[in-house]
Symmetry: C2
Subunit: 633 residues, 2 copies
């Protein structure tokens, strides 16, 4: 027999479960410690997705129990809608089975692999079946299912299934025993849950560690993130092959109705126009479209103006949470500067909308001689592994941070300096580099957005440094003028036996600014901030002053609390002082307050910025200032 026939005998089909059994590292199961983190992550992601879809405030219980040497049981229980009985085996016992794969909507799980991969890893490493309990609202009883995966067939094998009484109205509980190693610290289950809690403040997460230590990450808000809508694909970015598949599968009878009903942003008018440009009859059957006709349709779409895809399918983390996220990793370190987090406008890659958010803290007590720390999130899920493979890292490495005051060899690579950078990418389809969902692929459109966000942060950083320098210099001048001048005048007057001259006009002439600074006093858990406003101009000034305390809880102030700000209306006579106060609780890592003014020429004010109107305007302002600065250089 010839070699070709011999080789043919060996050629055969591989089930996807067999594939992953042999390539479990692709799913993230490449070390004992990591396997546990990955498993908890998959289970918790599913719970959060299910709760949000059912509009339930998530209440998630996670427990890790040691059951042997290097063997642990993972338990994850939620109050989600539950899974109907007949689908339980498929959801947990079949790879590539799920509800979110075909939906264009932001969700954590998208591949239909995650939780069944955990079951697979459990049986592979411990030999034990997974135990699932699930109950739905409509039924009196829940069901307990013991199952494994038949890897040759990629089919669930149910070992036991029975109805049980469960005290919960609804929910799902997963128990998987696996070979693993438990630790705390970096890249641990604890870190994953902590970071997850930060960006999902509507979730309550209870965590019991192997030593029975219990931690509750409390729900901070009762507001669920706005429901994310499912969208249809956008004609820009859809690929020819996928387009033909859709045309073959559509139930529409006419090409125009196919285009309007199955794509987003295609009105009947646009559909007609596209058909015309493509030289096609609008009422042809879409199923009959030939390859070259389909290609003409897609080309025609590039010639018409289409709105960008709708973005209510996306759920950004938001400014406050980005700040909180940064605060949280800071621990007791005080940074010198919190930049205003950036939320970019939604953009599209291959027809999928996405949005980039980014934040940075800088200076203060952060370690100076280390690479900057990078926090990565995708669809509200913290990414703890594969930093080097991630588009976020690549974007950070390709920005020239030397311009913004960080050290960076050759203007490339991860910069060195006292900073933490946080980046969140939200999308209806995050392009992960592998099924382990540990890193986002280097998609040019996403990289560009991240780079633009980072550059905005970089400009803020530079501005902060420039202003700090300027304030320092002015501070010296202020001291001379305000302390020494009157002293010199008094002494001189004494010597020449004349009355002390009126110095105010002189001082105001020299200074000609509104001066704002603060004094921070700690008292146990309380922090008292005293804001000093000095009017060194020649006239009375009226304006609004806003203080932005990035962390802590305001317990007392003589201002008015508005969202994240404390607001004061200030009316101040020339050459006079006023004092305002804020008292904060639970603000142990407090650095410095950002002050903003409104109703006054901001160039007259030292120590406060113009009040940003909203996100967009705030950032416009930053870029404007930047341009001015660059012109000056």
């Amino acid at each position: 027999m010839g070699i070709a026939h011999e080789m043919a005998k060996k050629q055969r089909e591989i089930s996807v479960a067999e594939f992953f059994q042999k390539n479990k590292h692709i799913l993230g199961f490449d070390s004992l410690t990591k396997s546990l983190v990955v498993s908890v992550k998959e289970a918790v992601d599913n719970s959060l997705d299910a709760c949000e879809e059912a509009r339930i405030l998530p209440d998630i219980f996670v427990q890790i129990e040691q059951v042997g040497k290097d063997e642990y049981k993972m338990i994850v229980e939620d109050n989600g809608p539950g899974i109907v009985r007949k689908n339980i085996p498929l959801v947990f016992g079949k790879l590539l089975y799920g509800s979110r794969f075909h939906a264009l909507r932001q969700s954590r799980g998208q591949q239909g692999i995650g939780i069944s991969a955990v079951v697979l890893y459990g049986q592979l490493s411990s030999g034990k079946p997974a135990k699932i309990i699930s109950k739905i609202k409509e039924e009196e009883v829940g069901y307990e299912v013991l199952l494994t995966i038949n890897t040759k067939k990629n089919e669930p094998k149910v070992i036991k299934e029975e109805p049980i009484i469960w005290e919960k109205e609804q929910g799902t509980r997963v128990e998987v025993v696996m070979k693993a190693r438990y630790n705390r610290g970096k890249q641990s289950v604890f870190e994953y849950l902590q970071q997850t809690a930060i960006v999902n403040p509507h979730a309550q997460i209870t965590f019991v560690e192997p030593d029975d230590k219990k931690t509750v990450f409390k729900r901070v808000t009762d507001e669920l993130p706005p429901p994310v809508k499912e969208i249809k694909p956008h004609p820009h970015g859809i690929e020819l092959g996928e387009f033909i598949n859709m045309a073959r599968a559509t139930k529409a009878y006419r090409l125009t109705s196919f285009l309007t009903s199955e794509f987003s942003r295609v009105s009947p008018r646009i559909a007609e126009k596209v058909c015309k440009i493509a030289y096609l009859y609008g009422d042809m059957r879409p199923q009959d479209m030939s390859l070259s006709e389909a290609r003409r349709v897609l080309e025609a779409f590039t010639k018409v103006k289409l709105m960008a895809p709708p973005t209510d399918c996306l759920s950004p983390i938001g400014e406050t949470l980005i700040k909180k996220g940064l605060k949280n990793v800071l621990g007791s370190l005080r940074p010198g500067f919190y930049a205003q987090p950036i939320t970019r406008e939604p953009k599209v890659y291959s027809g999928n909308p996405f949005i980039v958010e980014a934040g940075i803290v800088y200076g203060g007590e952060l370690p100076k001689d280390q690479p900057v720390r990078i926090l990565r999130f995708a669809n509200r899920v913290p990414l703890l592994y594969q930093q080097g493979a991630d588009v976020i890292t690549k974007a950070i490495s390709s920005v020239d941070w030397r311009r913004y005051g960080l050290e960076q060899r050759g203007g490339q690579g991860i910069p060195v300096g006292p900073a933490i950078i946080i980046v969140h990418v939200a999308s209806t389809r995050v392009p992960f580099t592998s099924e382990a969902k540990e890193a986002i692929a280097d998609v040019p459109e996403i990289r560009e957005e991240i780079e633009l966000a980072l550059k905005s942060l970089g400009r803020q950083l530079k501005m902060y440094r420039v202003k700090k320098e300027r304030k320092k210099k002015l501070s010296e001048k202020f001291f001379i003028v305000n302390q020494l001048l009157p002293e010199i005048a008094r002494k001189s007057a004494e010597i020449v036996e004349k009355p002390v001259p009126k110095l105010e006009p002189v001082i105001t002439k020299i200074m000609n600014v509104i001066w704002i600074d603060e004094k921070i006093e700690k008292d146990g858990k309380m922090i008292k901030i005293t804001v000093r406003i000095a009017n060194f101009t020649e006239k009375k000034e009226k304006f609004d002053l806003y203080g932005d305390c990035p962390i802590g809880e305001i317990v007392d102030t003589d201002g008015e609390i508005q969202d994240d700000y404390v607001k004061w209306h200030v009316e101040i006579e020339p050459v006079s002082y006023q004092y305002k106060k804020i008292v904060l609780k639970n603000a142990s890592g407090y650095g410095e307050t950002n002050y903003y003014v409104d109703g006054i020429n901001p160039s007259k004010v030292i120590g406060a910025e113009p009040l940003p109107g909203d996100w967009g305007i705030k950032m416009d302002f930053v870029e404007e200032i930047e341009e001015v600065e660059e012109d000056e250089q």
Copy 2:
């Protein structure tokens, strides 16, 4: 209807083809340029694997034709054994289908995804079917097949199939049209083929670019790499789940025969012993083994001594090719130092044997102010992407290169300096981080081996630098003693009107070394190396001198050519010189020669090292020297 039921309606199976259609970046298709490289790589890897398996010297033709704006046709044709007619559609039109997945043997393709993924990407991006021609030796005709993949079912859809007359005796030709972009330079098809040719010197690769430029990477040797054997899994490292699967599927009737016949390194004696330790009867049916019994068997295996898995299943690149690989990327740059490449002993991870090889060049004209360049190979396939995600990069980053003279911030990260590092990992199963096979996962056992290889290279590097320094200092002394002393003696004698004293005894007392250095002269394509040997000891010395010219072709020498060395037997009187020569052709990037001595106390010799016996001894020697050096510090 409740939310759980509503969600259940959406839950359904996803075909693996659908999965990859939506996640094509996981397969490496994440940019137009890269898609082309990935496609060529998958096709060429398959061709090389098929030829080697059939013991045929590979003759591979690659052509890229532009067929439209951003649209290219990839053609890859080989002289391999061909594919039997009925299997053609499955091999090219079904993901997760292949012959190498179930085999434990070193091969390039292992997953049964690669080439069908290319077909999938082609149809998805261009809408066009793939064209396959294949002919096997036993048949008069070949077959031409046009096919696409039915992604909903992950099944091939044959559009046309017909017998054709093909001038070749046997072989396979693949043509796929795809959206792509063509470039040359870094991370290009050209670079991939060039690097592939280097580590596969038995292959002839012809490449025609879109502008019809033709490059032939010539076959350098007619020797195929030794055939790699298929091995059985090794009991150490096999996982419980997999072990149970094997026990269920075995045709053996007795537990002992199951263990001896389906695992490597298990003799009947060991099987008996294992059964005894596990409290099991050796003639129980393996299919009846319970979970706890299976676990006892695996635990018993950890208590018996087993030989490491056989390693004739691995095919390292070898010293010469590693040097050639380094030479090739150097182009016209001359490095100062070629370290002896390291080939580590085979090791095992999760039952899979693997071997690590590494090499480094340093100094000379290499750029000093950049991160070191890293060349990565897995199973003789160059890895061009995802450097940051690769265990090779992680190993390089975690070695403290400052010890060895490279600059490295904090002793971590990719070092900066004039060096190129090459690392090859060969295994029966390379643990790639994703189906794109772009990076090797961070498996602790592999990382450790790479680190050890790198540290050996680092020690050589340090030794080179220490010796260079020492030689430089001695060179100054040599000059003073040998040039100035006689001059001073002559002058002094002249002044005092006495005869010039005999200085040789003085000089030899001061020096007491055999001094070896070389002069390099270029003449067109020729390089003439003159080796000077000076005996500054008090007696006649006899020894063998070996010159190792890492590159070029020796056209003339007064020595004896032995493998990679030129050998001279030297007999030299005290205080005298001898000159030897080597003339090289085609050695444009020639740096400096390594000299070795044998039959003399090497500590007496400056400018040559002791002759290494073989690989192992050579490296032992290096480590020994290192230890001595460290003791001295």
